[in-house]
């Protein structure tokens, strides 16, 4: 399913749709931000935002909510990219939220800052008076997202009410809001993981090396392979082992699982994704906690 050898009209369609949504966001809102994680989806979205306004630079800031448990590769990559494209990056850290007493760190071997970042995110949106946050979420990631709109309304508490979503017809997006409310906007809604990879290949986008297979010490926990780091404490009977792995998503090191892989180039990744039997979030332990895990987190303001 490599795209280099054939025409890829679906990518043109998805690209144009994404650009259209990003331009609508810039037009309908006063203070949008683009949520940047350094992951492949946010890189794709950043690329679309550059295309949307070229020859102008991206007219709104990028916001990174840093759990402090990032892979060091991601941060280096992030800073290089910002310098190259001349974007305005704002960073807010979970550590600050902890220091300010806004949140309490989870304890125990399963401790994760994934839930804490909701508070940091909402605080940052509040502080920056953001009225639209562009996110890289895709509808194919998880079933609660299948019903998400491109323009997703959030109330004053950042909550999503799946029963009160505005109908979204054609490409007429309605971003009207009351003071204090904001929108999450998802330009990649209609993309699949495979589309993102094919697009990255076609556009020649640089990605963090974590996405390609490399040797790394990992521990197997609840069916996921977690990378060795200072933030993980081994339980009884667990041990690190070196494996050839790559990551399908990159987030907090404590809950982002790797998969065993030999795909060291993007075409090999595309091949692997096209024939995969596990979905991309399958490596994320936070989704497996309960049946409606994602829906619960979304209601509270998770992306």
């Amino acid at each position: 399913m490599s795209v280099s050898s054939e025409t890829a009209r679906h990518l043109d369609t998805l690209e144009s749709e994404g650009i259209h949504v990003i331009r609508e966001t810039a037009a309908q809102f006063e203070r949008p931000v683009l949520m940047f994680s350094g992951g492949k989806d946010s890189l794709t979205m950043t690329h679309l935002a550059r295309k949307a306004f070229y020859p102008e630079p991206i007219p709104f800031p990028l916001l990174h909510v840093d759990t402090g448990h990032n892979f060091p590769e991601t941060l280096r990559f992030r800073d290089d990219l910002m310098e190259r494209i001349g974007a305005n990056l704002i960073v807010r850290t979970v550590q600050e939220s902890i220091d300010k007493g806004r949140v309490k760190e989870e304890q125990g071997p399963n401790a994760s800052r994934n839930k804490l970042q909701i508070v940091t995110l909402l605080d940052a949106l509040d502080e920056l008076d953001v009225d639209a946050a562009l996110g890289g979420a895709r509808r194919d990631e998880e079933k609660a997202r299948a019903k998400e709109r491109f323009f997703s309304h959030r109330d004053r508490f950042g909550q999503w009410d799946p029963k009160k979503q505005r109908p979204e017809l054609w490409n007429q997006y309605n971003g009207r809001r009351n003071p204090g409310e904001h929108f999450r906007v998802f330009p990649l809604s209609n993309w699949t993981e495979l589309d993102v990879w094919q697009y990255i290949e076609r556009e020649g986008l640089e990605i963090p090396s974590l996405y390609l297979a490399h040797k790394r010490d990992v521990v197997e926990r609840d069916g996921s392979l977690l990378a060795k780091s200072d933030y993980i404490s081994l339980r009884d009977g667990e041990h690190y082992a070196e494996k050839m792995v790559r990551f399908r998503t990159i987030g907090d090191m404590t809950c982002t699982g790797a998969i065993e892989s030999t795909a060291t180039t993007i075409p090999e990744v595309i091949e692997e994704v096209a024939t995969a039997t596990h979905s991309e979030r399958g490596g994320r332990t936070d989704d497996q906690r309960s049946e409606a895990a994602m829906e619960d987190r979304k209601r509270k303001g998770y992306f």
Partner: protein, 628 residues
């Protein structure tokens, strides 16, 4: 690889979720962990896979066992990527169906072979037709429960066709399937040897896509102004339809100023063309007023610029429609306030009958007229899905309350070529409604390369109406314009052979000719009518049959003395001798046009000069292309 967006309408009972699950399962789009999740979620212990559980996402839906919102799902085969807008089928979810249908290029209507064509199947097909989805597949499901009986399948096909004939759907494919058992979904079934057609997936993989984009009429709604520095000003947008190249002349609405496309800019370099659906930045050669909500079009191919809109409206809000307060209309990138000034009728989505109504409530569909604060640049939805639609927003709650499909410019008389709704006509022939034409006039016009119009030549006998019209028709014909000439003498041989020359009969004669010219008009023809037609009221009645700007009254003016002198048919002589009664100018009055579009004086200019004058006027009005 290309992309097909399709919608599925049907309820859980019809096996819709099972069908999607089957498509996913058989194309290996289901991941292992989802399969294990399904097994975890399955409450009943069926032999067949509980495929339906794959697709019902939200917790409330799982609890209630229904689908309450549009869910978007994705799968791909080596040939194509698919986006499914999965919508619930019950009447109370009409708005979800409309939402799902709005972006679809194909609709799957699912029937239960045991139950056949139900009221809700009618509704699904009607919505697909209303939203102008180009292709439809009628999947007759649960064939396993009727023993794969061919006769049952044929019966359902015939019944559905009878109904669909009344709708605006051109491409329907019928497929007998069993989603549960997998027959004819992805793989051909051995149990239906009588069915020679393609499987459902094969049809999805091969149907022509991108057919919903109008390739002819260039429309570029401006989203943002791009101004990186003093020397560059560009306009960002997505090409709604048609295409444009640098160097081509364009007009910017609403300012109406003409300029040229200077360049088409993207991050990947300048392009030599902007095509339908592309997101680009266009720069223009002149510094003219362009902002969000402007539209860039070709000077000789413009949308209607109007504050009166005739549209079908689907109401989507809990609060009912009110005609005494304004809403916000979002039409492309343009936004203004609008009153719903007239609710023409409501469609009963069960029976598809038209009903009198004074409001629309949640999930109701009706035909309305809007009056907007600022002009909109519209095309009819049939001709252009991308500039023929809008949404209404409640300014108090910010909710999206309605979606609208434009029929055309609003006018108090019934719009031409569409269902007649005026009271007068309903009274005189209550059982006759206008049949919507299979090919709308706008498409014929686009193909012909000129607009359709009716030119009404009026003037005294002997003024030279037929002479000027014939010379004009030759000139137009040479330029490739499709023409027809309806002449007073000719129609009186047949069409009006039963009429005399009394005021009543003259009125009836003009009425008949007016109706005939309207038919020619809908056929895309430039129709020249040469009739003395001495009464202003009769001419006005014909004018009202046609859209604004498409009826041109041409006063062929000539002094009565000159006409008498010419007297080509010896009629004045006879009239003066009293051999003919009711002769205009002698024994009957002639009411001169008060405000004709064109006046030619045949007693001052020769025929060629008059024809030149008319051709210039037609070009200036953009009805025919200018001479090379």
């Amino acid at each position: 690889m290309d992309l097909l967006r399709f919608t599925t309408a049907g309820s859980v009972d019809d096996g819709k979720s099972t069908l999607i699950g089957r498509l996913f399962y058989d194309t290996q789009a289901i991941f292992e962990e989802k399969m294990s999740e399904i097994q975890r979620n399955t409450q009943r212990d069926d032999e067949d896979l509980e495929l339906a559980l794959l697709t019902d996402g939200l917790r409330a839906e799982r609890e209630q066992g229904i689908t309450i919102d549009v869910a978007y799902r994705y799968f791909a085969t080596p040939k194509r990527k698919f986006i499914i807008a999965d919508t619930p089928g019950h009447e109370q979810y009409t708005r979800n169906m409309v939402t799902g249908a709005s972006t679809a290029e194909l609709a799957i209507v699912l029937l239960d072979a045991r139950k056949g064509v139900l009221e809700q199947s009618h509704r699904h097909a009607f919505i697909a037709s209303l939203l102008q989805i180009p292709h439809m597949i009628v999947a007759v499901n649960k064939m396993d429960l009727v023993d794969y009986d061919e006769d049952r399948f044929r019966e359902i096909v015939d019944e559905f066709r009878d109904f669909a004939d009344k709708l605006d759907v051109n491409d329907i494919t019928f497929i007998p399937i069993s989603a549960l058992k997998g027959d004819n979904v992805v793989t051909e079934s051995e149990k239906t040897p009588w069915y020679q057609g393609a499987t459902l997936l094969h049809r999805l993989e091969t149907v022509k896509t991108q057919t919903d984009r109008n390739q002819v009429d260039f429309r570029f709604p401006v989203q943002n102004v791009i101004r990186p520095h003093q020397d560059f000003r560009g306009f960002a947008g997505q090409v709604a339809s048609g295409s444009v190249r640098p160097g081509e002349e364009v007009v910017v609405l609403p300012s109406n100023l003409t300029t040229e496309v200077e360049s088409i800019v993207t991050l990947d370099g300048e392009q030599d063309q902007a095509s339908p659906g592309e997101s680009v930045v266009i720069s223009l050669t002149d510094e003219i007023d362009v902002s969000r909500g402007s539209m860039i079009v070709r000077s000789r191919n413009r949308p209607e610029v109007t504050r009166q809109v005739d549209a079908d409206l689907c109401w989507m809000d809990e609060e009912k429609l009110r005609t005494d307060r304004p809403y916000i209309v979002q039409h492309g990138t343009r936004e203004t306030q609008a009153y719903v000034s007239n609710l023409v009728y409501r469609i009963n989505v069960k029976t598809l009958h038209r009903e009198e109504a004074d409001t629309l409530t949640l999930n109701e569909i009706g035909r309305v007229e809007l009056e907007t604060a600022d002009p909109l640049f519209i095309d009819s939805y049939r001709v252009n899905r991308h500039t023929g639609r809008f949404i209404l927003v409640d300014p108090d709650t910010n909710a999206t309350v309605a979606g609208g499909m434009i029929r055309g410019v609003g006018q108090d008389v019934a719009a031409v070529g569409e269902e007649s709704t005026t009271r007068k006509e309903q009274q005189t022939s209550p059982n006759v409604v206008w049949e919507g034409l299979a090919i709308p006039r706008e498409e014929r016009e686009a193909k012909n390369g000129h607009k359709a119009a009716v030119m009404w030549f009026t003037g005294l006998s002997g003024a030279g109406k037929s002479t000027v019209a014939k010379a004009l028709e030759e000139r137009l014909f040479d330029r490739g314009i499709q023409t027809m000439h309806l002449d007073g003498d000719n129609v009186r041989h047949g069409l009006s052979g039963d009429l005399g020359f009394s005021a009543n009969d003259r009125e009836e004669n003009v009425r008949r000719v007016g109706e005939v010219s309207r038919l020619f008009f809908e056929q895309g023809t430039f129709t020249l009518c040469t009739f003395v037609s001495p009464y202003r009221e009769d001419r006005t009645r014909v004018r009202e049959l046609l859209p604004e700007g498409r009826f041109l009254e041409v006063h062929v003016d000539c002094a009565l003395e000159v006409c008498k002198e010419r007297d080509p048919k010896g009629l004045y002589e006879k009239a003066e001798k009293g051999e003919i009664s009711n002769f205009t100018g002698v024994s009957a009055p002639y009411e001169e046009p008060e405000d004709p579009e064109i006046v030619v004086r045949t007693d001052e200019h020769d025929v060629e000069t008059c024809v030149d004058q008319i051709v210039d006027a037609l070009e200036a009005r953009g009805l025919i292309p200018e001479a090379e």
